[in-house]
Symmetry: C2
Subunit: 111 residues, 2 copies
């Protein structure tokens, strides 16, 4: 179980709320990263395919609006569990690094 990369992690995070379709995820990720992360189309749909294959997200339903497809994804229970595991990993890593920086007298990264 390799660590999730940031884009993938943020896709799961975006789906902790309402089920969203691809474009909605794009916007949600931008929003919750404060504009710091803007996914490209390739990254997003590639990530969704992989996540669906792994059972971490699932297609909720498909809508056709004006002939344009909207495919809604939801986070599965497995996806939520995986995300929780990742949160722990991030916190562990962040704390280890912050402790090292603090020892060094570095005044940033404290909390």
């Amino acid at each position: 179980m390799p660590p999730l990369q940031e884009p993938t992690f943020l896709v799961l995070t975006a789906l902790t709320g309402e089920p969203l379709h691809g474009y909605g995820i794009l916007q949600q990720v931008t929003a919750l990263s404060g504009g710091a992360v803007v996914l490209g189309a390739g990254t997003l749909y590639g990530a969704l395919d992989r996540l669906a294959e792994q059972g971490l997200v699932a297609v909720e339903r498909e809508e056709a609006v004006d002939g344009r497809l909207r495919r809604y994804y939801r986070l599965t229970d497995e996806g939520a569990a995986r995300l929780a595991t990742e949160v722990e990993r991030l916190r562990r890593n962040a704390n280890a690094a912050a402790a090292g920086l603090r020892r060094r007298g570095f005044q940033a990264g404290l909390e």
Copy 2:
């Protein structure tokens, strides 16, 4: 400035203390991840080359012990600053995901 991946992040973290040579970093990373992350040789030295190229680590000195080379690396100021930035990123991401999971009624990942 793309996000650092876990192995690279942990290499920088290992170097927040004493300067270490490659093999020492390997052990330090294993130790501070609680055995969860064991870097392969290819991953480590590849990461060190890239980090040195970016000025985030620098060669402190080289020792020859029994004809075996030891190349010691240290974290640069730039590397420490970069690591601090990454810590913030990890915390931001972890908090966003934890908040989403909590809203969902997920009982893990709280702090």
